[in-house]
Protein backbone atom coordinates (compact mmCIF):
# COMPACT_ATOMS: atom_id res chain seq x y z
CA UNK A 1 0.00 0.00 0.00
CA UNK A 2 2.76 2.40 0.96
CA UNK A 3 4.56 1.72 -2.31
CA UNK A 4 1.38 2.54 -4.24
CA UNK A 5 1.07 5.88 -2.46
CA UNK A 6 4.73 6.65 -3.11
CA UNK A 7 4.37 5.77 -6.80
CA UNK A 8 1.43 8.13 -7.06
CA UNK A 9 3.56 11.11 -6.10
CA UNK A 10 5.64 11.01 -9.28
CA UNK A 11 2.90 11.87 -11.84
CA UNK A 12 1.31 14.26 -9.35
CA UNK A 13 4.51 16.24 -8.79
CA UNK A 14 5.24 16.29 -12.51
CA UNK A 15 1.75 17.63 -13.24
CA UNK A 16 2.08 20.37 -10.63
CA UNK A 17 5.53 21.45 -11.82
CA UNK A 18 4.54 21.56 -15.49
CA UNK A 19 1.20 23.16 -14.63
CA UNK A 20 3.03 25.93 -12.77
CA UNK A 21 5.28 26.49 -15.79
CA UNK A 22 2.29 26.59 -18.15
CA UNK A 23 0.42 29.12 -15.95
CA UNK A 24 3.47 31.39 -15.82
CA UNK A 25 3.98 31.10 -19.58
CA UNK A 26 0.30 31.97 -20.13
CA UNK A 27 0.67 35.07 -18.00
CA UNK A 28 3.83 36.04 -19.85
CA UNK A 29 2.03 35.71 -23.19
CA UNK A 30 -0.97 37.72 -22.00
CA UNK A 31 0.95 40.63 -20.49
CA UNK A 32 3.85 40.52 -22.97
CA UNK A 33 6.13 41.58 -20.13
CA UNK A 34 8.71 39.36 -18.50
CA UNK A 35 8.71 41.60 -15.45
CA UNK A 36 5.22 40.46 -14.42
CA UNK A 37 6.55 37.01 -13.60
CA UNK A 38 9.71 38.17 -11.89
CA UNK A 39 10.35 37.88 -8.19
CA UNK A 40 8.86 40.86 -6.28
CA UNK A 41 10.94 43.99 -5.75
CA UNK A 42 13.08 44.16 -2.66
CA UNK A 43 13.90 40.46 -2.31
CA UNK A 44 16.94 40.24 -4.54
CA UNK A 45 19.46 42.71 -5.96
CA UNK A 46 18.08 44.11 -9.21
CA UNK A 47 20.77 42.53 -11.41
CA UNK A 48 20.04 39.06 -10.00
CA UNK A 49 16.27 39.06 -10.29
CA UNK A 50 15.97 38.07 -13.92
CA UNK A 51 18.69 35.37 -13.97
CA UNK A 52 17.44 33.88 -10.70
CA UNK A 53 13.87 33.67 -11.97
CA UNK A 54 14.92 32.25 -15.35
CA UNK A 55 16.98 29.62 -13.55
CA UNK A 56 14.04 28.78 -11.31
CA UNK A 57 11.64 28.37 -14.25
CA UNK A 58 14.14 26.25 -16.15
CA UNK A 59 14.64 24.08 -13.06
CA UNK A 60 10.90 23.69 -12.58
CA UNK A 61 10.39 22.70 -16.20
CA UNK A 62 13.36 20.33 -16.24
CA UNK A 63 12.30 18.60 -13.03
CA UNK A 64 8.73 18.17 -14.34
CA UNK A 65 9.96 16.56 -17.55
CA UNK A 66 12.64 14.61 -15.69
CA UNK A 67 10.12 13.05 -13.32
CA UNK A 68 8.14 11.74 -16.28
CA UNK A 69 11.16 10.63 -18.25
CA UNK A 70 12.64 8.67 -15.36
CA UNK A 71 9.39 7.22 -14.06
CA UNK A 72 9.50 4.11 -16.24
CA UNK A 73 12.10 1.44 -16.47
CA UNK A 74 15.47 3.13 -16.40
CA UNK A 75 18.15 0.55 -16.29
CA UNK A 76 17.59 -2.94 -15.11
CA UNK A 77 16.50 -3.81 -11.63
CA UNK A 78 15.81 -0.40 -10.14
CA UNK A 79 15.02 3.27 -10.56
CA UNK A 80 18.59 4.12 -11.46
CA UNK A 81 20.75 7.11 -10.70
CA UNK A 82 18.98 9.62 -13.02
CA UNK A 83 15.64 8.99 -11.31
CA UNK A 84 17.18 9.40 -7.87
CA UNK A 85 18.85 12.67 -8.89
CA UNK A 86 15.65 14.09 -10.36
CA UNK A 87 13.55 13.09 -7.35
CA UNK A 88 16.08 14.38 -4.82
CA UNK A 89 16.34 17.57 -6.88
CA UNK A 90 12.55 17.95 -6.74
CA UNK A 91 12.56 17.56 -2.96
CA UNK A 92 15.35 20.13 -2.71
CA UNK A 93 13.44 22.49 -5.03
CA UNK A 94 10.35 22.47 -2.82
CA UNK A 95 12.49 22.80 0.32
CA UNK A 96 14.11 25.94 -1.11
CA UNK A 97 10.67 27.14 -2.21
CA UNK A 98 9.43 26.81 1.37
CA UNK A 99 12.22 29.03 2.64
CA UNK A 100 11.78 31.54 -0.18
CA UNK A 101 8.03 31.76 0.41
CA UNK A 102 8.56 32.32 4.11
CA UNK A 103 11.13 35.03 3.40
CA UNK A 104 8.83 36.71 0.87
CA UNK A 105 5.98 36.62 3.35
CA UNK A 106 8.14 38.41 5.92
CA UNK A 107 9.49 41.08 3.59
CA UNK A 108 6.63 41.65 1.15
CA UNK A 109 3.39 40.63 2.88
CA UNK A 110 1.38 42.22 0.08
CA UNK A 111 2.43 39.98 -2.81
CA UNK A 112 1.33 36.55 -3.94
CA UNK A 113 3.69 33.68 -4.68
CA UNK A 114 3.10 33.68 -8.45
CA UNK A 115 3.44 29.86 -8.37
CA UNK A 116 0.56 29.48 -10.81
CA UNK A 117 0.81 32.81 -12.63
CA UNK A 118 -2.14 35.15 -12.30
CA UNK A 119 -4.08 32.63 -10.20
CA UNK A 120 -1.58 33.08 -7.37
CA UNK A 121 -2.07 36.72 -6.42
CA UNK A 122 -3.42 36.09 -2.93
CA UNK A 123 -0.79 37.18 -0.38
CA UNK A 124 1.36 34.32 0.79
CA UNK A 125 -0.07 32.65 3.86
CA UNK A 126 0.53 29.53 5.89
CA UNK A 127 -1.38 27.44 3.36
CA UNK A 128 1.00 28.26 0.51
CA UNK A 129 4.06 27.54 2.65
CA UNK A 130 2.55 24.31 3.98
CA UNK A 131 1.79 23.22 0.42
CA UNK A 132 5.45 23.58 -0.49
CA UNK A 133 6.31 21.52 2.59
CA UNK A 134 3.84 18.77 1.66
CA UNK A 135 5.22 18.62 -1.88
CA UNK A 136 8.77 18.48 -0.51
CA UNK A 137 7.80 15.48 1.63
CA UNK A 138 6.04 13.90 -1.33
CA UNK A 139 9.14 14.31 -3.49
CA UNK A 140 11.36 12.84 -0.76
CA UNK A 141 9.03 9.85 -0.53
CA UNK A 142 9.58 9.03 -4.20
CA UNK A 143 13.32 8.45 -3.78
CA UNK A 144 13.96 4.75 -4.27
CA UNK A 145 10.52 3.99 -5.70
CA UNK A 146 10.80 1.28 -8.39
CA UNK A 147 9.78 2.04 -11.99
CA UNK A 148 6.07 2.80 -12.36
CA UNK A 149 3.73 0.17 -13.72
CA UNK A 150 0.03 -0.25 -14.21
CA UNK A 151 -1.92 -1.44 -11.14
CA UNK A 152 -1.71 -5.20 -10.86
CA UNK A 153 -5.26 -5.71 -9.56
CA UNK A 154 -8.58 -3.82 -9.21
CA UNK A 155 -7.99 -3.41 -5.48
CA UNK A 156 -4.62 -1.77 -6.16
CA UNK A 157 -6.30 0.58 -8.66
CA UNK A 158 -8.93 1.50 -6.08
CA UNK A 159 -6.17 2.21 -3.58
CA UNK A 160 -4.46 4.46 -6.13
CA UNK A 161 -7.67 6.36 -6.77
CA UNK A 162 -8.44 6.79 -3.07
CA UNK A 163 -4.92 8.06 -2.35
CA UNK A 164 -5.12 10.37 -5.38
CA UNK A 165 -8.46 11.81 -4.23
CA UNK A 166 -7.14 12.38 -0.72
CA UNK A 167 -3.98 14.07 -1.90
CA UNK A 168 -5.75 16.25 -4.45
CA UNK A 169 -8.18 17.33 -1.72
CA UNK A 170 -5.27 18.19 0.57
CA UNK A 171 -3.53 20.20 -2.16
CA UNK A 172 -6.78 21.96 -3.06
CA UNK A 173 -7.28 22.90 0.59
CA UNK A 174 -3.76 24.31 0.71
CA UNK A 175 -4.13 26.20 -2.60
CA UNK A 176 -5.66 29.69 -2.60
CA UNK A 177 -5.68 29.41 -6.41
CA UNK A 178 -8.59 26.95 -6.38
CA UNK A 179 -11.13 29.59 -5.33
CA UNK A 180 -10.00 31.87 -8.15
CA UNK A 181 -10.31 29.08 -10.73
CA UNK A 182 -13.81 28.12 -9.56
CA UNK A 183 -14.98 31.74 -9.81
CA UNK A 184 -13.68 31.98 -13.38
CA UNK A 185 -15.44 28.79 -14.42
CA UNK A 186 -18.88 29.96 -13.33
CA UNK A 187 -18.59 33.63 -14.16
CA UNK A 188 -21.42 35.88 -15.23
CA UNK A 189 -20.80 39.62 -15.09
CA UNK A 190 -22.73 41.41 -12.33
CA UNK A 191 -25.05 44.19 -13.45
CA UNK A 192 -22.90 46.77 -11.60
CA UNK A 193 -20.03 46.04 -14.00
CA UNK A 194 -21.98 45.58 -17.21
CA UNK A 195 -21.68 48.26 -19.87
CA UNK A 196 -25.03 49.15 -21.33
CA UNK A 197 -25.46 52.00 -23.83
CA UNK A 198 -27.62 54.91 -22.77
CA UNK A 199 -29.61 54.49 -25.98
CA UNK A 200 -30.84 51.07 -24.89
CA UNK A 201 -31.81 52.42 -21.49
CA UNK A 202 -33.83 55.20 -23.11
CA UNK A 203 -35.46 52.75 -25.52
CA UNK A 204 -36.52 50.55 -22.61
CA UNK A 205 -37.84 53.58 -20.76
CA UNK A 206 -39.81 54.93 -23.72
CA UNK A 207 -41.56 51.63 -24.25
CA UNK A 208 -42.62 51.30 -20.60
CA UNK A 209 -46.03 51.89 -19.11
CA UNK A 210 -44.47 54.30 -16.59
CA UNK A 211 -43.24 56.49 -19.42
CA UNK A 212 -46.70 56.50 -21.04
CA UNK A 213 -48.24 57.47 -17.73
CA UNK A 214 -45.95 60.46 -17.21
CA UNK A 215 -45.22 61.44 -20.82
CA UNK A 216 -47.95 64.08 -20.70
CA UNK A 217 -46.06 65.93 -17.97
CA UNK A 218 -42.66 65.83 -19.70
CA UNK A 219 -41.68 69.18 -21.25
CA UNK A 220 -38.54 68.28 -23.22
CA UNK A 221 -37.54 65.79 -25.88
CA UNK A 222 -34.18 65.05 -24.27
CA UNK A 223 -33.40 64.35 -20.63
CA UNK A 224 -31.87 67.01 -18.42
CA UNK A 225 -29.56 64.57 -16.74
CA UNK A 226 -28.53 60.94 -17.08
CA UNK A 227 -26.26 59.13 -14.69
CA UNK A 228 -25.59 55.69 -13.33
CA UNK A 229 -25.02 54.18 -9.93
CA UNK A 230 -24.33 50.48 -9.83
CA UNK A 231 -27.23 48.57 -11.35
CA UNK A 232 -29.46 51.61 -11.84
CA UNK A 233 -29.41 54.31 -14.47
CA UNK A 234 -31.26 57.50 -13.64
CA UNK A 235 -32.91 59.72 -16.24
CA UNK A 236 -34.33 63.13 -15.31
CA UNK A 237 -36.79 64.99 -17.52
CA UNK A 238 -38.06 68.50 -16.85
CA UNK A 239 -41.82 68.51 -16.48
CA UNK A 240 -44.85 70.40 -15.34
CA UNK A 241 -47.55 69.27 -12.91
CA UNK A 242 -50.40 71.32 -11.48
CA UNK A 243 -48.79 74.44 -12.95
CA UNK A 244 -45.49 73.89 -11.15
CA UNK A 245 -42.10 73.00 -12.57
CA UNK A 246 -41.12 69.47 -11.59
CA UNK A 247 -38.32 66.99 -12.16
CA UNK A 248 -39.54 63.59 -13.32
CA UNK A 249 -36.95 61.00 -12.30
CA UNK A 250 -36.91 57.53 -13.80
CA UNK A 251 -34.70 54.80 -12.37
CA UNK A 252 -34.13 51.97 -14.84
CA UNK A 253 -32.54 48.73 -13.68
CA UNK A 254 -29.67 47.75 -15.98
CA UNK A 255 -30.66 44.44 -17.46
CA UNK A 256 -31.13 43.62 -21.11
CA UNK A 257 -34.77 42.48 -20.95
CA UNK A 258 -37.79 43.62 -18.93
CA UNK A 259 -35.92 46.03 -16.65
CA UNK A 260 -37.77 47.15 -13.53
CA UNK A 261 -38.48 50.88 -13.71
CA UNK A 262 -39.29 53.27 -10.88
CA UNK A 263 -40.38 56.86 -11.11
CA UNK A 264 -40.66 59.84 -8.79
CA UNK A 265 -41.82 63.41 -9.33
CA UNK A 266 -40.20 66.24 -7.38
CA UNK A 267 -40.64 69.97 -7.28
CA UNK A 268 -37.81 71.32 -9.39
CA UNK A 269 -36.43 73.36 -6.52
CA UNK A 270 -37.48 71.15 -3.61
CA UNK A 271 -35.83 68.24 -1.87
CA UNK A 272 -38.90 66.11 -1.29
CA UNK A 273 -41.48 64.35 -3.52
CA UNK A 274 -43.59 66.94 -5.31
CA UNK A 275 -47.21 67.31 -6.38
CA UNK A 276 -47.37 63.96 -8.09
CA UNK A 277 -46.52 62.59 -4.72
CA UNK A 278 -45.68 58.95 -4.71
CA UNK A 279 -42.91 56.82 -6.00
CA UNK A 280 -43.99 54.07 -8.29
CA UNK A 281 -42.39 50.90 -9.54
CA UNK A 282 -43.17 48.81 -12.56
CA UNK A 283 -41.69 46.04 -14.61
CA UNK A 284 -42.38 46.41 -18.30
Amino acid sequence: MLTAVRELQIPLLAALLLGGCAAKAWRLLRTRSLSTVLVPDGLLPLRLRRPVMMTMYATEFTLGLGLIATAGKVGAGGPGLPATIVRAGTALFFLVAMGALNETRQRRPDVGCGCFGEFSETPIGWRTITRAGVLCAAAAATIGVPPLRMPSSPSTAELWLAALAFELSLIAFLSPEVGEILVRLGYSEPCELRRLPVGRTLTALHSSSQWRRYAGQVCAAAPDDVWREGCWRFVVYPGSAHGRAVDIVFAIYLQARRPPIRVAVLDAEADSPGPAGARESVVI
Binding site: D41, P123, V183, Y187, P190, E192, R228, E229, L266
Partner: protein, 359 residues
Protein backbone atom coordinates in the same frame (compact mmCIF):
# COMPACT_ATOMS: atom_id res chain seq x y z
CA UNK B 1 -11.67 67.04 -30.31
CA UNK B 2 -15.36 66.39 -30.55
CA UNK B 3 -17.66 69.09 -31.76
CA UNK B 4 -19.75 70.57 -28.96
CA UNK B 5 -22.96 69.59 -30.69
CA UNK B 6 -21.92 65.94 -30.59
CA UNK B 7 -21.68 65.90 -26.79
CA UNK B 8 -24.99 65.13 -25.10
CA UNK B 9 -25.78 67.85 -22.63
CA UNK B 10 -26.15 65.39 -19.76
CA UNK B 11 -22.58 64.16 -20.13
CA UNK B 12 -20.61 64.81 -16.96
CA UNK B 13 -17.93 67.39 -17.30
CA UNK B 14 -15.70 65.94 -14.64
CA UNK B 15 -13.91 69.25 -14.22
CA UNK B 16 -17.18 71.03 -13.48
CA UNK B 17 -16.51 71.13 -9.76
CA UNK B 18 -17.29 74.82 -9.55
CA UNK B 19 -20.96 74.19 -10.24
CA UNK B 20 -21.67 71.13 -8.16
CA UNK B 21 -25.38 71.80 -7.73
CA UNK B 22 -26.42 69.41 -10.47
CA UNK B 23 -24.26 66.61 -9.10
CA UNK B 24 -25.28 67.21 -5.49
CA UNK B 25 -28.92 67.02 -6.53
CA UNK B 26 -28.38 63.57 -8.03
CA UNK B 27 -28.23 61.95 -4.59
CA UNK B 28 -31.43 63.70 -3.65
CA UNK B 29 -33.23 62.55 -6.79
CA UNK B 30 -31.94 59.04 -6.33
CA UNK B 31 -33.17 58.92 -2.75
CA UNK B 32 -36.56 60.15 -3.94
CA UNK B 33 -36.95 57.48 -6.59
CA UNK B 34 -35.39 54.53 -4.78
CA UNK B 35 -36.31 55.50 -1.26
CA UNK B 36 -34.18 56.17 1.81
CA UNK B 37 -32.04 53.08 1.71
CA UNK B 38 -32.52 50.73 -1.14
CA UNK B 39 -34.72 47.71 -0.70
CA UNK B 40 -31.99 45.58 -2.22
CA UNK B 41 -29.85 46.52 0.74
CA UNK B 42 -27.00 47.82 -1.36
CA UNK B 43 -27.24 51.48 -0.66
CA UNK B 44 -26.94 53.66 2.38
CA UNK B 45 -29.75 55.74 3.74
CA UNK B 46 -28.80 59.41 3.61
CA UNK B 47 -30.62 62.61 4.32
CA UNK B 48 -30.42 66.02 2.74
CA UNK B 49 -28.25 67.15 5.65
CA UNK B 50 -25.84 64.27 5.00
CA UNK B 51 -25.53 65.29 1.37
CA UNK B 52 -24.90 68.91 2.31
CA UNK B 53 -22.31 67.93 4.90
CA UNK B 54 -20.63 65.50 2.54
CA UNK B 55 -19.92 68.24 0.07
CA UNK B 56 -18.77 71.08 2.29
CA UNK B 57 -17.88 70.60 5.94
CA UNK B 58 -14.22 70.22 6.95
CA UNK B 59 -14.02 69.49 10.65
CA UNK B 60 -10.39 68.41 10.96
CA UNK B 61 -8.65 69.97 8.00
CA UNK B 62 -7.38 73.48 7.38
CA UNK B 63 -5.60 74.58 4.21
CA UNK B 64 -3.85 77.84 3.52
CA UNK B 65 -0.59 79.67 3.04
CA UNK B 66 1.79 80.18 5.95
CA UNK B 67 1.94 83.82 6.98
CA UNK B 68 3.83 83.35 10.22
CA UNK B 69 4.80 80.57 12.55
CA UNK B 70 6.26 80.32 16.03
CA UNK B 71 6.76 77.33 18.32
CA UNK B 72 3.25 77.90 19.66
CA UNK B 73 1.14 79.51 16.95
CA UNK B 74 0.62 78.99 13.23
CA UNK B 75 -0.86 81.82 11.17
CA UNK B 76 -2.42 80.81 7.86
CA UNK B 77 -4.12 82.74 5.09
CA UNK B 78 -7.17 80.59 4.39
CA UNK B 79 -10.29 81.15 2.32
CA UNK B 80 -11.79 82.79 5.41
CA UNK B 81 -8.86 85.21 5.68
CA UNK B 82 -6.02 85.29 8.18
CA UNK B 83 -6.45 82.66 10.90
CA UNK B 84 -4.34 81.79 13.95
CA UNK B 85 -4.04 78.22 15.19
CA UNK B 86 -2.39 77.22 18.48
CA UNK B 87 0.09 74.37 18.08
CA UNK B 88 -0.13 71.47 20.51
CA UNK B 89 2.96 70.43 22.43
CA UNK B 90 3.17 67.32 20.28
CA UNK B 91 2.63 69.15 16.98
CA UNK B 92 4.62 67.69 14.09
CA UNK B 93 5.35 69.26 10.75
CA UNK B 94 6.52 67.80 7.44
CA UNK B 95 8.47 69.69 4.84
CA UNK B 96 10.46 67.13 2.93
CA UNK B 97 10.90 65.32 6.24
CA UNK B 98 9.87 65.74 9.85
CA UNK B 99 10.80 69.22 11.09
CA UNK B 100 9.85 71.40 14.06
CA UNK B 101 6.71 73.38 13.28
CA UNK B 102 8.63 76.62 13.79
CA UNK B 103 10.88 75.69 10.86
CA UNK B 104 8.07 76.12 8.33
CA UNK B 105 8.65 78.94 5.86
CA UNK B 106 6.50 81.95 5.11
CA UNK B 107 4.63 81.48 1.86
CA UNK B 108 4.54 77.69 2.11
CA UNK B 109 1.30 76.09 1.10
CA UNK B 110 0.23 74.12 4.15
CA UNK B 111 -2.45 71.63 5.06
CA UNK B 112 -3.01 71.13 8.78
CA UNK B 113 -5.07 68.77 10.90
CA UNK B 114 -6.91 69.88 13.99
CA UNK B 115 -6.45 67.86 17.16
CA UNK B 116 -10.21 67.86 17.84
CA UNK B 117 -12.99 68.19 15.27
CA UNK B 118 -13.66 71.90 14.86
CA UNK B 119 -11.18 72.73 17.62
CA UNK B 120 -8.63 75.53 17.39
CA UNK B 121 -5.39 73.59 17.99
CA UNK B 122 -3.56 71.75 15.22
CA UNK B 123 -1.18 68.85 15.71
CA UNK B 124 -0.08 67.88 12.19
CA UNK B 125 1.09 70.17 9.39
CA UNK B 126 2.28 69.30 5.92
CA UNK B 127 3.97 72.04 3.88
CA UNK B 128 4.59 72.05 0.13
CA UNK B 129 3.76 68.38 -0.09
CA UNK B 130 3.03 67.04 -3.54
CA UNK B 131 2.57 63.76 -5.32
CA UNK B 132 2.93 62.45 -8.85
CA UNK B 133 1.18 59.23 -9.83
CA UNK B 134 1.16 57.90 -13.36
CA UNK B 135 3.10 56.49 -16.27
CA UNK B 136 6.68 57.51 -17.02
CA UNK B 137 6.74 58.73 -20.60
CA UNK B 138 10.18 60.30 -20.82
CA UNK B 139 13.40 60.07 -18.89
CA UNK B 140 16.23 62.57 -19.11
CA UNK B 141 19.42 61.75 -17.29
CA UNK B 142 19.29 59.60 -14.20
CA UNK B 143 16.81 61.67 -12.22
CA UNK B 144 14.41 63.67 -14.39
CA UNK B 145 11.15 62.09 -15.48
CA UNK B 146 8.10 63.25 -17.38
CA UNK B 147 5.04 61.51 -15.97
CA UNK B 148 1.59 61.26 -17.54
CA UNK B 149 -1.08 61.28 -14.81
CA UNK B 150 -3.91 60.42 -17.20
CA UNK B 151 -6.46 62.44 -19.14
CA UNK B 152 -7.85 64.22 -16.07
CA UNK B 153 -4.58 65.37 -14.50
CA UNK B 154 -2.14 65.91 -17.38
CA UNK B 155 1.64 65.64 -17.16
CA UNK B 156 4.18 66.56 -14.53
CA UNK B 157 7.93 66.70 -14.20
CA UNK B 158 9.59 64.71 -11.42
CA UNK B 159 13.16 65.27 -10.31
CA UNK B 160 14.39 62.61 -7.95
CA UNK B 161 16.32 64.16 -5.08
CA UNK B 162 19.88 62.86 -4.82
CA UNK B 163 19.47 61.91 -1.17
CA UNK B 164 16.34 59.87 -1.98
CA UNK B 165 17.59 58.21 -5.17
CA UNK B 166 18.60 54.96 -3.47
CA UNK B 167 15.37 54.70 -1.52
CA UNK B 168 13.27 55.31 -4.61
CA UNK B 169 15.34 53.03 -6.82
CA UNK B 170 14.78 50.13 -4.43
CA UNK B 171 11.00 50.48 -4.67
CA UNK B 172 10.95 51.63 -8.31
CA UNK B 173 13.68 49.64 -10.03
CA UNK B 174 12.46 50.45 -13.55
CA UNK B 175 12.43 54.20 -13.97
CA UNK B 176 11.86 53.79 -17.69
CA UNK B 177 9.19 54.97 -20.12
CA UNK B 178 6.12 52.75 -19.99
CA UNK B 179 6.37 51.85 -16.30
CA UNK B 180 4.37 53.26 -13.41
CA UNK B 181 5.61 55.61 -10.74
CA UNK B 182 4.05 57.03 -7.57
CA UNK B 183 6.22 59.36 -5.51
CA UNK B 184 5.71 61.98 -2.83
CA UNK B 185 7.91 65.01 -2.36
CA UNK B 186 8.24 68.74 -2.24
CA UNK B 187 6.40 70.87 -4.75
CA UNK B 188 8.44 73.42 -6.64
CA UNK B 189 7.54 75.68 -9.53
CA UNK B 190 6.97 73.34 -12.45
CA UNK B 191 8.21 70.12 -10.90
CA UNK B 192 8.08 67.78 -7.94
CA UNK B 193 11.24 66.95 -6.03
CA UNK B 194 10.63 63.30 -5.24
CA UNK B 195 11.64 62.16 -1.76
CA UNK B 196 9.45 59.21 -0.79
CA UNK B 197 8.27 56.21 -2.80
CA UNK B 198 4.51 56.05 -2.22
CA UNK B 199 4.26 52.36 -3.11
CA UNK B 200 6.28 49.58 -4.70
CA UNK B 201 6.42 49.69 -8.46
CA UNK B 202 4.03 47.25 -10.11
CA UNK B 203 6.14 44.87 -12.20
CA UNK B 204 4.05 45.14 -15.37
CA UNK B 205 3.98 47.81 -18.06
CA UNK B 206 1.37 50.48 -17.33
CA UNK B 207 -0.73 49.44 -20.30
CA UNK B 208 -0.95 45.81 -19.25
CA UNK B 209 -2.30 45.56 -15.71
CA UNK B 210 -3.35 42.06 -14.71
CA UNK B 211 -7.01 41.16 -14.90
CA UNK B 212 -8.74 41.45 -11.53
CA UNK B 213 -10.43 38.46 -9.92
CA UNK B 214 -13.89 37.81 -11.27
CA UNK B 215 -16.92 38.20 -9.04
CA UNK B 216 -20.14 36.27 -9.16
CA UNK B 217 -23.50 37.63 -8.13
CA UNK B 218 -23.22 41.23 -7.03
CA UNK B 219 -20.06 43.22 -6.44
CA UNK B 220 -19.31 42.98 -2.72
CA UNK B 221 -20.56 45.95 -0.71
CA UNK B 222 -18.69 47.14 1.27
CA UNK B 223 -15.51 46.77 -0.73
CA UNK B 224 -12.05 46.93 0.83
CA UNK B 225 -8.83 48.14 -0.69
CA UNK B 226 -6.45 51.07 -0.76
CA UNK B 227 -7.26 54.77 -0.57
CA UNK B 228 -4.66 57.20 -1.86
CA UNK B 229 -4.62 60.97 -2.42
CA UNK B 230 -3.96 63.33 -5.27
CA UNK B 231 -2.96 66.97 -5.61
CA UNK B 232 -5.82 69.40 -6.15
CA UNK B 233 -4.81 70.42 -9.68
CA UNK B 234 -7.73 72.48 -10.96
CA UNK B 235 -9.92 71.57 -7.99
CA UNK B 236 -10.44 73.89 -5.01
CA UNK B 237 -7.87 73.17 -2.29
CA UNK B 238 -10.38 72.36 0.41
CA UNK B 239 -12.60 70.16 -1.74
CA UNK B 240 -13.95 67.15 0.11
CA UNK B 241 -14.37 64.32 -2.32
CA UNK B 242 -12.68 61.60 -4.23
CA UNK B 243 -11.70 60.62 -7.72
CA UNK B 244 -13.41 57.32 -8.45
CA UNK B 245 -11.66 54.75 -10.63
CA UNK B 246 -14.81 53.42 -12.34
CA UNK B 247 -16.99 56.23 -13.63
CA UNK B 248 -19.72 55.10 -16.00
CA UNK B 249 -18.05 55.10 -19.41
CA UNK B 250 -21.38 55.78 -21.14
CA UNK B 251 -22.17 59.08 -19.44
CA UNK B 252 -19.06 60.44 -17.78
CA UNK B 253 -17.45 61.60 -21.05
CA UNK B 254 -13.99 61.36 -19.61
CA UNK B 255 -12.85 59.48 -22.64
CA UNK B 256 -12.73 61.42 -25.87
CA UNK B 257 -10.53 59.12 -27.88
CA UNK B 258 -6.79 58.95 -28.16
CA UNK B 259 -5.03 61.92 -29.69
CA UNK B 260 -2.31 61.19 -32.22
CA UNK B 261 1.18 61.11 -30.72
CA UNK B 262 2.74 64.57 -30.82
CA UNK B 263 6.09 63.57 -29.39
CA UNK B 264 8.01 60.38 -28.77
CA UNK B 265 6.86 60.30 -25.14
CA UNK B 266 3.23 60.05 -26.26
CA UNK B 267 3.95 56.56 -27.48
CA UNK B 268 4.32 55.48 -23.85
CA UNK B 269 1.28 57.36 -22.56
CA UNK B 270 -1.48 55.04 -21.43
CA UNK B 271 -5.18 55.75 -21.55
CA UNK B 272 -6.35 54.03 -18.36
CA UNK B 273 -9.85 53.70 -19.80
CA UNK B 274 -8.46 51.44 -22.49
CA UNK B 275 -6.80 48.97 -20.14
CA UNK B 276 -9.88 47.10 -18.99
CA UNK B 277 -11.62 47.20 -15.64
CA UNK B 278 -8.42 47.83 -13.70
CA UNK B 279 -7.08 45.98 -10.71
CA UNK B 280 -10.25 45.82 -8.67
CA UNK B 281 -13.78 45.41 -9.95
CA UNK B 282 -15.82 48.38 -8.79
CA UNK B 283 -19.42 49.19 -9.67
CA UNK B 284 -19.86 51.95 -12.21
CA UNK B 285 -20.80 55.23 -10.58
CA UNK B 286 -21.06 58.87 -11.64
CA UNK B 287 -19.89 62.25 -10.43
CA UNK B 288 -22.08 63.16 -7.47
CA UNK B 289 -22.50 59.59 -6.19
CA UNK B 290 -22.01 59.37 -2.45
CA UNK B 291 -19.67 56.88 -0.80
CA UNK B 292 -19.13 56.10 2.83
CA UNK B 293 -15.39 55.71 3.16
CA UNK B 294 -13.76 54.38 6.29
CA UNK B 295 -10.10 54.67 7.16
CA UNK B 296 -9.51 51.22 8.64
CA UNK B 297 -6.27 52.40 10.24
CA UNK B 298 -7.81 55.35 12.10
CA UNK B 299 -11.35 53.91 12.33
CA UNK B 300 -12.73 57.19 11.05
CA UNK B 301 -15.39 57.32 8.34
CA UNK B 302 -16.96 60.02 6.24
CA UNK B 303 -19.62 60.34 3.56
CA UNK B 304 -17.87 61.69 0.46
CA UNK B 305 -19.07 62.59 -3.01
CA UNK B 306 -17.38 61.46 -6.20
CA UNK B 307 -15.90 64.66 -7.59
CA UNK B 308 -13.70 63.54 -10.44
CA UNK B 309 -12.36 60.74 -12.57
CA UNK B 310 -9.67 58.59 -10.96
CA UNK B 311 -9.05 56.17 -13.79
CA UNK B 312 -5.27 56.21 -13.28
CA UNK B 313 -5.84 54.41 -9.98
CA UNK B 314 -7.01 51.41 -12.02
CA UNK B 315 -3.47 50.83 -13.21
CA UNK B 316 -2.04 50.21 -9.74
CA UNK B 317 -2.53 46.66 -8.51
CA UNK B 318 -0.75 47.40 -5.26
CA UNK B 319 -1.66 47.00 -1.63
CA UNK B 320 -1.41 49.40 1.26
CA UNK B 321 0.43 48.13 4.33
CA UNK B 322 -0.17 51.09 6.62
CA UNK B 323 -2.04 48.87 9.08
CA UNK B 324 -2.01 45.26 8.00
CA UNK B 325 -2.23 44.38 4.34
CA UNK B 326 -5.10 45.84 2.36
CA UNK B 327 -6.89 43.92 -0.34
CA UNK B 328 -5.39 44.47 -3.75
CA UNK B 329 -6.19 47.59 -5.73
CA UNK B 330 -7.00 51.24 -5.29
CA UNK B 331 -10.65 51.93 -4.62
CA UNK B 332 -10.52 55.69 -4.05
CA UNK B 333 -8.20 58.55 -4.92
CA UNK B 334 -9.06 61.19 -2.33
CA UNK B 335 -8.55 64.91 -2.43
CA UNK B 336 -5.85 66.00 0.03
CA UNK B 337 -8.45 67.56 2.30
CA UNK B 338 -10.53 64.38 2.40
CA UNK B 339 -7.45 62.23 3.04
CA UNK B 340 -6.41 64.35 6.01
CA UNK B 341 -10.01 64.62 7.19
CA UNK B 342 -10.16 60.83 7.42
CA UNK B 343 -7.03 60.69 9.55
CA UNK B 344 -4.54 59.80 6.82
CA UNK B 345 -0.89 60.86 6.93
CA UNK B 346 -0.05 62.44 3.59
CA UNK B 347 3.57 61.32 3.63
CA UNK B 348 2.44 57.69 4.08
CA UNK B 349 0.60 57.94 0.77
CA UNK B 350 -2.27 55.56 1.52
CA UNK B 351 -4.45 53.95 4.12
CA UNK B 352 -6.43 50.73 4.19
CA UNK B 353 -10.01 51.61 3.41
CA UNK B 354 -13.49 50.15 3.35
CA UNK B 355 -16.06 51.73 1.08
CA UNK B 356 -19.84 51.55 0.93
CA UNK B 357 -21.90 53.00 -1.83
CA UNK B 358 -24.41 55.49 -0.53
CA UNK B 359 -26.72 58.22 -1.56
Amino acid sequence: MRHLAEIPRWCDDVTDFTGPGRFARRSLLKAAVLGRGDEAGHLLAVTGEDIEAAATTLVYTVTGRVLDVSPHVLVLRTEQGEQRFPLTASARAWRGGQIPAAALKQGDHAIARRQQPGGPAVDRIWAQIGRVTGTIIEREGPATLLVDEGPAQGRKIVIIAAEAAGRIQVRFPRLEPGYLIDVIGLKHDGFLRALIPATSQPPYLAGHPPAPPLVNGHVPDPVSGTAVWHEPGEEPEGLLGLAYPALDPETSCERTGSAPAACSGDLHAVDPHATGPGCVRLPYLSVGSLLLLQNDCAERSRLLPVTSCGATARLFCDRCVTCGTSRKGRIADLTMAAFVELGGALEAGCFNATMRIGG
